[in-house]
Symmetry: D2
Subunit: 287 residues, 4 copies
């Protein structure tokens, strides 16, 4: 009987005894902790933990384990979850004209690097725009948007997310701004890639802004969206060196590489339950 | 009454219940875990943990806490230690002609960045060699070495380390090879900086080797020494980009910056109890 | 009348007057130098230059310009070439089972990032192996290899390269070793990606070697092949940080990202005439 | 008779024939170009060049060579200079309370890494503040500043710079803002280190801003000062990865390492005539 793998994530106001509470419960349930990371934010007073554990008990479903943990964590008023690592989240990828991030996600998903179900792609451009990659077997939703139909298109999207039971939205260079209401409802469930090293160069055409300012490194930022544009909690960032020889076109080219790897990392961190919201920021347990 | 801070480090064969054992003990001792990192090496079957905790109990010395932990961890046959974070290790820095790593360590220590007592400097060159930095107030031991006096010089060094109760030796570009016996006795207590990205360019003149091979990045490696030259467990490495324009002299210059920051990081990790030996490799908990 | 763009590359024994010779010739031919990089290797005594220039003269073909430069450079016994930047080289990509580098090259080529003609793909695995990417419209040559047919397979390959007038071979994780003779004939025309930071971890299974040695960074190396395995002149390298948590599988995953970007950079540098052989090393003019 | 080394820097509106003009002149003067880098900014229409050359003629002073170049470049209305590489610029370093950048510059200068004359140090703190480094033999000017004496103190500074014939001012964490007029008069002759990755986190307490925003990398920026705070042309930038575990104090510590290496690089680039102003940005020829 092979062992089964689970991940427990929790956050709460920091108080003595949390670790003892969940580790004793897991021990009594004959589970073995294989990896644990904890963080006590002395500023916010909050405690965060990610605990991976195995169980050899064939009856140990996530539901059964939840009952034990629920009792153990009740005194701490924690936000927590247990996920069977074999369960997969349903992802919807949004894209506009540029498809390098989509192409990268598709490839990683096809070779099994990303543990998720790809529920579909939503674009404000028709399918024939994407000749550089293969969308074979992936539901494609063409939902054009114009100044006139914006609220209606967004309602269509939200309906689709609900119908398809989407756990996470990935804005893979989707160049439309979501409404405040929609953004709020997606809090912690929608990752965007911004093509600059935030907080530098918010808004439109960041590579042109970077070129004009003469920075020596350009970057990209993956963050959860909030109703405030380009201000959501940052999950991952990276940069690359540029020189005076790089024109805006070169920055766009170099930027493609940064964007796709930053977004892919952020997505993987989320899928592996490594990311916690902590006010305006995130806690990301490495792995 | 201000709280006191401790760090518990432990490693043992992985078995269920370790986390529950120490966390329950700490909870009962009214300690609060502020940071915990654990790692279960599925290959070697070993478990590693670093646990920082505070105690508000004024009678809670490291000795008292050790008694409780000793009982809790006895079944696991763990190697463990508890250190009061206000206690400081005694460090001896070894240096030869080049003093950039020594200068860097001295500066970091003087501004309070490195939590250690600098017990002294040992060199095979006389003190007047070091005009580029200030050795004011630091015991300096000039112990010249030649083919004839090598064993005698090493015996002198070992005696000095014992007399001075040295916890850690830092080879800050000390260009003499320690004997096998001495190296073995220093296992896990002697950090060397090698001026290449190991395992590339072992041995002498690594920058010249790198130049000849035409690599596009050069690096440095901080490792614990063993009796096998340049083969000890690696603690930290870093690299920098070079180009065809860089002659060996330029590599030496760029290398100085890499060496000093890699050695300083490794030293800090060791002083903060972040490094564990794991066979030929190390576990380093980030911070 | 739009201007036409050319690139002059030259290398020779360094002697005064080279720059004056070609720059005066280009000036008299009413060309405008838009970018020039030169390097004088004081060790080998060789001079290298890459000169981009525009001509507004509609009759100024590369052939016409060559005549002038030929006269100007004759005294210097230089190796040189002039390429009309609108001409494209013919590339053949070799691949084995792992297709992440091939997928990356295909995508970059399809979106116009790589200025080349993709003449085809050669694999020792059948086409149905590659379901994660689209090979639509690309000639695919399945040339299986076994201990028995190795010389015959290589002869087939060499014939194909000649028939297809291939300018550059890209070994995109092609896991077969080319014979000494074939390697020699491809000197400077065949780029390989090795999945380690050479000269560390030559040969097979470098990620496993890296894991066993406990390095803190892993890398990849793009180099021209020579008859000596993993010893050819290095074009580009890059690394990424790893930790004790990374098992060999994680290194393979992180390595894919490094490999594809290092190979893509090396390929672009070659296509843009930025790379010069200089003994065992290369000169790479940045851009 | 050893050869003498010179560096020619020039910038002008781009027109055909510039390279031919100076290279022919140098050739006729029996000089040998050892390194040349050129850049044609197609946006601003300006041309930049840095040319290193040797002369074996003992009578070939910079003055003599200037005469020839002056004639050759007159038609191009270029801004240019020729510097004998053995001549050294006079540098004044400004510092406030934090001395890590000063300590680094002093050490690099003492070991001969920076080709400059250190004319002195100006501080708004008394000399006894600097116990972590040795100021032996370096003129120290204590010029305290308060809201009342600001213009007077700046006048004192400016007088001192003139008296001491200072070529370059280095603001090594000098935490006073220079007046608009003074800043303008120092254009291109005053390098500041800002402790953030500009344009992010301008102004005061950038590490606290970075911590609050939750960025995943922090950086530093060396730039020429202008009358606009933190907006001057950027010479060099670098970053380092941080995590949620890093509190503002940790950012300050990690930042020290970034600041000192970014400032040291920018200073070296300036001293080696690698940096050109190009509107709001810089051209920096690598080396």
């Amino acid at each position: 009987m092979p062992s089964r793998s689970f991940v427990l994530t929790l956050s709460c106001v920091n108080r003595p005894g949390i670790v003892a509470a969940f580790s004793s419960t897991l021990f009594r349930a004959e589970c073995n902790i294989t990896d644990a990371q904890q963080f006590d934010d002395t500023e916010s007073g909050r405690f965060f933990a990610r605990v991976m554990f195995d169980s050899n008990d064939p009856t140990a479903t996530a539901d059964v384990l939840r009952n034990g943990i629920e009792v153990a964590l009740r005194p701490f008023e924690a936000t927590w979850s247990i996920r069977d690592r074999s369960s997969r989240r349903r992802i919807m990828v949004f894209v506009s004209k540029l498809d390098h991030c989509l192409a990268d996600i598709l490839y990683r998903w096809r070779i099994g690097e990303l543990e998720m179900d790809l529920a579909g792609v939503i674009s404000n451009h028709p399918k024939q725009n994407y000749t550089n990659l293969s969308l074979d077997g992936i539901p494609f939703h063409y939902l054009p948007v114009s100044p006139d139909n914006r609220p209606a298109q967004e309602a269509q999207i939200e309906l689709l997310l609900n119908t398809e039971k989407i756990d996470l939205v990935v804005l893979a260079r989707y160049m439309q701004i979501l409404s405040d209401g929609f953004s709020s409802r997606l809090l912690g469930r929608c990752i965007n890639i911004h093509h600059s090293f935030l907080p530098g160069f918010k808004g439109a055409k960041p590579y042109h802004q970077a070129h004009e300012r003469g920075v020596k490194l350009i970057g990209a930022t993956a963050h959860y969206i909030t109703s405030e544009l380009d201000e959501g909690p940052i999950i991952e960032q990276d940069v690359e060196r540029i020189t005076h020889r790089d024109r805006p076109d070169d920055l766009v080219r170099k930027g493609r590489d940064i964007e796709r790897r930053v977004l892919a990392r952020a997505l993987r961190y989320h899928l592996e339950d490594r990311v916690f919201l902590n006010g305006r920021t995130t806690v990301v347990f490495p792995g």
